[in-house]
């Protein structure tokens, strides 16, 4: 580092300046700023933690934001009952390692109590909204961190970093507050809460590059492994008690990995032989499909599927 502050020449050598931040440093700094703003302005923040890569990165950033102190938030997992066992195992290990408090909202409980009904297609993703919103109300969480990224889907592209939800957790795109500079406005009425998205400006590739740079451990299903799968709606789904395979669907053993981790019933695996982070990143950079397009059945339901679920209080 030079001791004199030199004039920064931009242009061709945009990265050559001693005061240029790399894109990952800029995104990391912004996310940390968001975590610290929430810690400073809210009473009961919680991080939605699924054990998927985006929530793992969120937790890693939160740990960095408050080090050497503990993070001033608890974790909340909405358990569909159809989670991959590898992911649940990872979740419990991380919670124990960092001495965190985990809240679980269980879709299975709601089905057992008759409050929610199983859908004919076996998909439980849309069923997550009610357990999530009731848990937010009963625990009086006033800020809920989600791993949502604006590059994921068209309706998400309109989402704010601080997204106000009413007492029914509903999202109204026309009632959004403008976000100016980096001055986030977290004020809300009692009963309302704010969904906060620290990874708003990250892309899938950014997340993977950051995981590689920071050496973050992930559940094994993100890497290529042999798995018994069957084809439904053009996706490789894991065979299991949740509802597959059905008649006419045949199980085969394939070398696959997951690009996203959600509910078993709607998260598809992709053919892959990428066993290291470097290989995964190379594969993603070369992929011609978005991660949701490749692997999520629930977003294809209609042109406005995500918008409708967001309005109802979905992540």
């Amino acid at each position: 580092m030079t001791t004199t502050v030199a004039t920064v020449k931009g242009g061709e050598d945009g990265t050559a300046s001693p005061y240029a931040l790399s894109h990952l440093d800029a995104l990391e700094s912004e996310a940390v700023h968001i975590f610290r703003e929430v810690a400073g302005e809210f009473e009961r923040p919680v991080i939605l933690f699924s054990g998927g890569k985006d929530s793992i990165v969120m937790l890693h950033l939160a740990l960095k934001a408050f080090a050497p102190a503990a993070i001033p938030f608890s974790l909340l997992h909405v358990d569909t009952g159809h989670n991959f066992p590898e992911v649940l195992e990872y979740r419990d290990r991380v919670v124990a390692a960092h001495g965190l408090r985990l809240h679980v909202a269980s879709v299975q409980d709601y089905i057992d109590r008759g409050v929610l009904k199983e859908r004919p297609d076996g998909t439980r993703n849309p069923l997550q909204t009610l357990p999530l919103t009731e848990k937010i109300q009963s625990e009086k969480f006033d800020a809920v961190f989600g791993g949502g990224r604006r590059d994921e889907e068209k309706a998400r592209a309109k989402e704010r970093v601080f997204s106000l939800r009413d007492e029914f957790s509903q999202w109204d795109p026309r009632r959004q507050r403008p976000e100016l500079w980096n001055l986030y406005n977290g004020r809300h009425a009692p009963g309302e809460h704010v969904r906060v998205f620290p990874l708003s400006n990250w892309t899938e590739l950014d997340v993977w590059q950051y995981i590689a740079r920071e050496g973050i451990e992930l559940p094994e299903i993100y890497f290529a492994h042999e798995r018994e799968v069957f084809k439904r709606a053009g996706m490789w789904l894991t065979a299991g008690e949740w509802g597959g395979p059905k008649d006419g669907e045949t199980v085969e053993k394939r070398l696959v990995r997951y690009r996203t981790v959600g509910d078993m019933s709607c998260t598809g695996a992709v053919d892959s032989d990428a066993v290291s982070l470097e290989q995964v990143i190379t594969e993603i950079a070369a992929s011609r499909l978005t991660e949701r397009g490749a692997t999520r059945a629930d977003d294809k339901m209609s042109e406005a599927a995500m918008e409708d679920r967001k309005r109802e209080g979905y992540f």
Partner: protein, 444 residues
């Protein structure tokens, strides 16, 4: 990306930019073209657009559909809010704040421009500089966006004539320079045909400059820090109080301007207490120096009372604190802002009670005329306000620092964000506004 190189996967810089254009200038097509030709659109996204275009009876895929996210927009064929888009080239990562250009959406343009290093203003080559173009230029100037690109679109409809482009570029540049826009680049394009968006145009040999994307890739994203006032708004005090760190007190925040180094004398505002920086923790790594937009934790030699909302500044370069703020504002809420309005003001990490003492004038963006004492500002109005705060604040002028010279006003009752404020003079001098009441002879 169609091909992957190691270069593409390495660290690069990030450019945040914003678009503005009048309705029908082809902004959605430009953004669609940019994403499409830079190979940032993936197969499933393109298939969805093709399906949607076909179901509407359109022959070719409508690239504008890539960027219209909400059902209301698709049904009405409009863009109702700021949308954020992401793409990358081997040279740079981009965040685009895509803002609608309709007259009633000034606030969206202000929102997009507030975080942008560069603004793209689109004009239709057949119409040239129109009232909307002047509004967009004024907003870019008010928000002090460092770089402005004038994209003269639909060149294919004027036979790619150089004289038409040159006349528009000249008129716009003269106007924007008068407003104090520091840097303007004019580029002739056809978003529909793809000329000069990503690939150089064969139809415009006379143009020797960069394509639109080349310019985005090479524009500087960092500034000379030697003229910046260093500022660190304290967000949070980190006190582990564990056996391992019994006495650790770290002041966490994102550096808003300039740079700080270990050993430097600092003053805490508004209290005025002084100390020295004993350490800087850059997210787990001790460093000797840290600079703007890095999130850090600063340790001081003395145990002094510092909390969220305070501002750390170099002792030799401390701003004055004041309870009387004069600013240019854009009103962003549906309910009006009136004289004697009681509000909350958020500046940096500090939120204080405040009262709107006076609204000296409203600015008409079309001709930059001032309307004295409008009594109130309604949604999308730009105006001057005088605000009295309940506590002293260390504000900078927005011209010196976009982060510590800006603030928002919040409705204390329902939390609505009311107003975006910029401390100090509206435009870089000379102040190019005409006072309607008494033309006191501005000499341009």
């Amino acid at each position: 990306m169609s091909t992957t190189t190691t270069e593409e996967l390495s660290a690069t810089t990030l450019l945040r930019f914003a678009t503005a254009g009048s309705v029908d200038d082809g902004k959605s097509t430009l953004v669609g073209r940019l994403l499409h030709d830079s190979k940032s659109i993936l197969t499933d996204q393109l298939e969805a657009v093709e399906r949607a275009s076909a179901s509407r009876g359109q022959e070719a895929p409508d690239l504008a559909l890539l960027t219209d996210g909400l059902r209301a927009e698709r049904e009405q064929g409009i863009t109702i809010d700021v949308a954020y888009r992401y793409f990358a080239t081997p040279r740079r990562r981009f965040i685009l704040a895509d803002t609608p250009g309709h007259v009633q959406y000034t606030r969206n343009m202000v929102t997009g421009a507030s975080t942008a290093e560069l603004t793209v203003i689109l004009v239709d080559a057949r119409n040239g500089v129109v009232e909307q173009t002047r509004r967009h230029a004024a907003i870019a100037a008010l928000l002090r966006v460092p770089h402005v690109v004038l994209a003269v679109n639909k060149m294919d409809l004027v036979d790619y004539q150089e004289s038409i482009f040159a006349a528009i570029a000249e008129e716009f540049t003269a106007y924007a320079l008068e407003l104090g826009v520091p840097e303007i680049t004019a580029i002739p394009i056809s978003a529909l045909a793809g000329d000069n968006v990503v690939d150089p145009s064969a139809n415009m040999d006379w143009y020797g400059g960069p394509t639109f994307l080349e310019h985005l890739e090479t524009v500087p994203v960092t500034h000379d820090l030697s003229h910046c006032h260093a500022r660190l708004p304290v967000q949070y005090v980190i006190r582990p109080q564990t056996a391992e760190h019994p006495d650790y007190r770290g002041y966490a925040g994102q550096i808003a301007a300039g740079s700080f180094r270990v050993g430097e004398s600092v003053t805490v505002l508004p209290s005025g207490r002084k100390s020295k920086i004993s350490g800087i923790d850059l997210l787990g790594e001790p460093v000797d120096i840290a600079w703007t937009t890095q999130s850090v934790t600063v340790l001081l030699e003395d145990d002094i009372d510092i909390s969220r909302g305070d501002l750390l500044v170099p002792t030799k370069d401390a701003p004055p604190t004041t309870q009387d703020i004069e600013a240019t504002v854009c009103h962003v809420a549906d309910a009006p802002l009136t004289v004697n309005h009681r509000v909350l003001l958020k500046h940096g990490t500090r939120t204080v009670k405040a009262i709107v003492k006076d609204i000296p004038s409203r600015l008409t963006l079309d001709d930059l005329s001032l309307h004295p004492h409008p009594g109130q500002l309604v949604a999308n109005d730009i105006g001057r306000v005088k605000i009295r705060t309940a506590e002293p604040l260390p504000v900078d002028s927005y011209a010196d620092s976009r982060r510590t010279g800006s603030f928002i006003l919040i409705d204390p009752n329902d939390g609505t964000t009311l107003t975006a404020g910029m401390v100090g003079e509206s435009f870089a001098s000379p102040e190019p506004v005409k006072d309607e009441a008494e033309d006191d002879g501005w000499d341009f």
